[in-house]
């Protein structure tokens, strides 16, 4: 444990990498948490993340030698949000229109996204050399700017934190967010109040899909600077865990993501240093999640027992 965390501080590159790893996790965690507030399960953040990555790389490659870098970045970001939103919104629409099970649809949509990515990487997006299923590298002009020189930390991290705060504001301070939570916690009472939950299903999934897709954009233009087949295959699953750890709270997601980022980076270093397999950290991450979920139930049980004991005492007194 000591080595795990100690090693994180050995140089600024390693330390900054924690936040690099945390960035896509924040987006996928937000994607899960957002629909979760409407009592919907978006298990397909991984697929939405890939859709975002494809859009980002495609748009960047297409525009980078036609438009100035900054403009290309903005356009790419907007297009990613749009396509990711549509990809996610489709799940919401199927739920609203046919009452399709959003859990299954979102899960399966990941495989469609994955297949789409594989196909594009072997055809339209394949590198000019034509050797590997990956794209050409992006021009430095369309990279998300590095914040600290000598590290990989890029502006995507700042955007992620701002997005978390923005989503928190949206959920807890605006009427739209209120309606989303109202639908999640009492669908019938919400409908009785004139809130059309079917529309909100689509809205929630649109936002959710856009969030995960934007994570793909941040990862492609911020870290990878190209698209490689099957990269970051576990951000979707980890995002679900983080959202649960943070109890669905967007501010909590910032910290939970950084914790997961630290464990990831630490795990890799541990593997290099001591020959301990880095999968040990994944085991730890899994245990953390299980215990968090267990703690919730144990706490509830304990509270109930305490209340009863208090009553008994009050009665006998």
């Amino acid at each position: 444990m000591g080595t795990l965390f100690g090693s994180l501080f050995r140089d600024s590159y390693t330390f900054a990498d924690i936040f690099v790893k945390a960035t896509p996790l924040m987006f996928t965690a937000l994607a899960f948490a957002f629909t979760f507030q409407a009592n919907l399960f978006n298990i397909g953040a991984q697929g939405q993340f890939y859709i975002g990555a494809i859009t980002a790389v495609g748009c960047s490659l297409f525009l980078q030698d036609k438009l100035p870098g900054a403009l290309t970045l903005v356009l790419t970001g907007v297009l990613t949000i749009l396509l990711g939103g549509l990809w996610g919104g489709m799940i919401g629409w199927l739920k609203a229109k046919f009452n399709a099970n959003e859990f299954l649809v979102s899960m399966m949509s990941t495989y469609v996204a994955l297949a789409l990515m594989n196909y594009l990487l072997r055809t339209f997006l394949m590198e000019t050399k034509g050797e590997y299923p990956q794209t050409d590298p992006l021009d430095t002009a369309v990279w998300l700017q590095t914040i600290i020189p000598g590290t990989r930390l890029h502006t995507g991290f700042v955007l992620a934190v701002l997005t978390c705060i923005g989503i928190w504001l949206l959920l807890y301070k605006t009427p739209l967010g209120f309606r989303i939570r109202a639908v999640g916690q009492g669908k019938d009472a919400a409908a009785m109040a004139g809130i059309n939950y079917k529309t909100l299903y689509i809205v929630a999934f649109f936002v959710s899909g856009a969030l995960a897709a934007f994570g793909g954009f941040a990862e492609v233009n911020g870290v990878q600077h190209m698209l490689v087949q099957g990269f970051n295959p576990d951000v979707g699953a980890a995002g679900i865990g983080i959202a649960i750890l943070a109890n669905g709270n967007p501010i909590g997601i910032i910290f939970a993501s950084i914790l997961f980022g630290a464990l990831k980076v630490g795990g890799t270093i541990m593997g290099q240093l001591s020959g301990i397999p880095s999968s040990i950290t994944e085991l730890m991450l899994g245990s953390v999640m299980v215990f968090v979920i267990l703690a919730y139930f144990v706490r509830e049980k304990m509270e109930e027992r305490r209340e009863k004991a208090k009553l008994k005492k009050a009665v006998s007194a």
């Binding site: 605006t174 109202a182 009492g186 019938d188 009472a189 109040a193 004139g194 009863k308 009553l311």
Partner: protein
């Protein structure tokens, strides 16, 4: 009537997570008697009987049956001791026949249904029930379904029948039949515990009365040694002053607020009319009471006025404007408020804070929004003000709705709807399940809204509520209005007949 107690409960205490349901409750149930368990809603009557029936486990205390201590962990154990309970909500399989329901779980392997049909028919005949053993439960009226539940208990040779508010779902005529049955069956040696909060029934049917209040036994009396006044005092712990209707001579000179024209709703799946050809007008400043046994289309009617359900036919007019095509959101903006019967499901969002619940039905409006954000400070202040004005027992605007008691939850809904409903307020069973204090408060609020000139629709299954508040009374039966009468043109006998569907001239 033998003196030896058949069942004895000794010092039973039962706690739920946050409330004391029963505290040190002791009582005896003697063979062959009708014991009425009387008390307000939430007094702990059902709880103590559910302990006896094995549905709940008591934290403390003993149960003795025929003098021997017994541990009852499940209804199965209770049945073995001859104890059966008829719940408020029946546990019948709707798609099965009477016989199939009665023998459910009691036969194994291959069996001849005809043979059992005969057994059930004989049993029903013995107790004077007119029941067809081959009828499907879903087709039977509630009163008959209840008889099936009773038969099921008798089939298992129950010696003690516990009935939890058995008349709540019945028409007055059906209740009379039930009372007769209760007296007959005790004459045949069975014992009956009758849980109720209605004094009239107690005086009619009981031999002995145990009164409960706040989870404790506050009285154990013989019927011939007591009277309604004493019982009501014991039950509520204070006097009830009967709120009688004050005649309003001018209500019908006021303009029409709400009008329904030939409104029908057909259930798209079952292809039957939930409500059929309903027309009425409500003046401004009038309370129109809608009486009827629950489940006769009242909720559908209220939903239709609020905009939650769309009409198959007909039109709804507000102050002369046709609003049939407007959705809930538009109707809220036009000042139609709704206090729904199922407040947990439709009235409040239980895990949310009180402030959020106050905001629920105005989330599309501009009143609480500043620069696109919810003005939480003003909303909190407003909620706190309402908590005070309606005497809601809550820790503050941040209290979660589900932490409140039923009466206080209803007050929150009332506070919200009264402010929203500038033109029309629909009250669907506004006092169901509440204690007398809360009921009185709600009745006062309804009358206050009437004097403000709002058109009010009051749906209730409690006739006393209908009679003490309504200017006019409409009786609904199977989705149809059988008649609309002025308050003093109707007596209990007449309305009872109408509620059961008897009418000389159908409109």
């Amino acid at each position: 009537m033998s003196a030896a107690p058949f069942v004895e409960l000794r010092n039973i205490s039962k706690y739920f997570a946050k409330v004391i349901a029963n505290q040190d409750v002791s009582m005896q149930i003697r063979k062959g008697e009708v014991l009425a368990l009387l008390g307000e809603n939430g007094a702990g009557k059902s709880t103590i009987m559910k302990v006896l029936y094995g549905l709940y486990r008591a934290e403390e205390g003993q149960i003795l049956v025929d003098g021997a201590e017994q541990v009852i962990n499940s209804p199965k154990d209770a049945m073995k001791l001859g104890i059966a309970m008829i719940q408020q909500h029946f546990a019948l399989v709707q798609a099965h026949t009477v016989t199939e329901n009665i023998i459910l779980g009691l036969v194994q392997g291959k069996y001849d249904i005809k043979q059992y049909d005969k057994i059930v028919a004989d049993l029903a005949a013995r107790y004077g029930f007119d029941i067809d053993p081959t009828a499907v439960i879903g087709d039977l009226p509630v009163g008959v379904q209840q008889k099936v539940e009773i038969l099921k208990a008798l089939y298992q040779n129950a010696q003690l029948l516990i009935m939890d508010e058995p008349t709540a779902v019945l028409t007055p005529q059906e209740s009379d039949v039930l009372m007769n049955f209760v007296q007959q069956t005790t004459r045949a040696g069975k014992t009956v515990v009758f849980i109720t909060h209605k004094l009239r029934e107690v005086m009619e049917v009981a031999d002995r009365i145990v009164v409960m209040r706040n989870g404790k036994v506050v009285g154990d009396l013989r019927k011939d040694e007591t009277n309604e006044i004493e019982l009501s005092k014991l039950m509520v712990g204070r006097e009830i002053h009967d709120r009688t209707y004050v005649e309003d001579a001018v209500f019908d000179s006021q303009p029409i607020g709400l009008e329904l024209r030939n409104v029908s709703i057909r259930d798209p799946r079952e292809k039957i009319f939930r409500i059929k050809n309903i027309s009425f007008q409500v003046h401004k400043g009038e309370i129109l009471g809608i009486a009827g046994v629950s489940g006769n289309g009242q909720s559908e009617l209220c939903d239709a006025i609020s905009g939650y359900r769309s009409l198959t036919q007909g039109a709804i007019l507000l102050n002369g404007t046709d609003i049939t095509a407007r959705n809930v959101r538009k109707r809220i903006e036009m000042g139609i408020a709704y206090v729904p019967a199922d407040r947990h499901r439709y009235g409040l969002i239980m895990p949310m804070k009180l402030t959020e619940n106050m905001f629920l039905r105005s989330s599309f409006g501009r009143i609480w929004v500043k620069h696109g954000l919810i003005d939480r400070r003003r909303l909190d202040a407003y909620t706190a003000e309402k908590i005070l004005a309606y005497d809601v027992k809550a820790t503050g605007p941040d209290a979660v709705a589900q932490s409140l008691s039923g009466g206080n939850q209803q007050k929150v809904i009332l506070a919200r709807e009264v402010d929203l409903g500038s033109a029309v307020i629909i009250f669907d069973q506004p006092t169901r399940g509440l204690d007398l204090g809360a009921i009185e408060h709600i009745h006062r609020t309804i009358l206050a809204e009437k004097t403000k000139g709002k058109a009010i629709v009051l749906v209730s299954t409690e006739l006393s509520e209908i009679f003490s508040l309504s200017d006019r009374i409409a009786v609904i039966y199977r989705g149809e209005i059988l008649g609309i009468f002025r308050n003093h043109d109707l007596d209990t006998q007449q309305i009872g007949l109408l509620m059961a569907g008897y009418t000389t001239e159908r409109r």
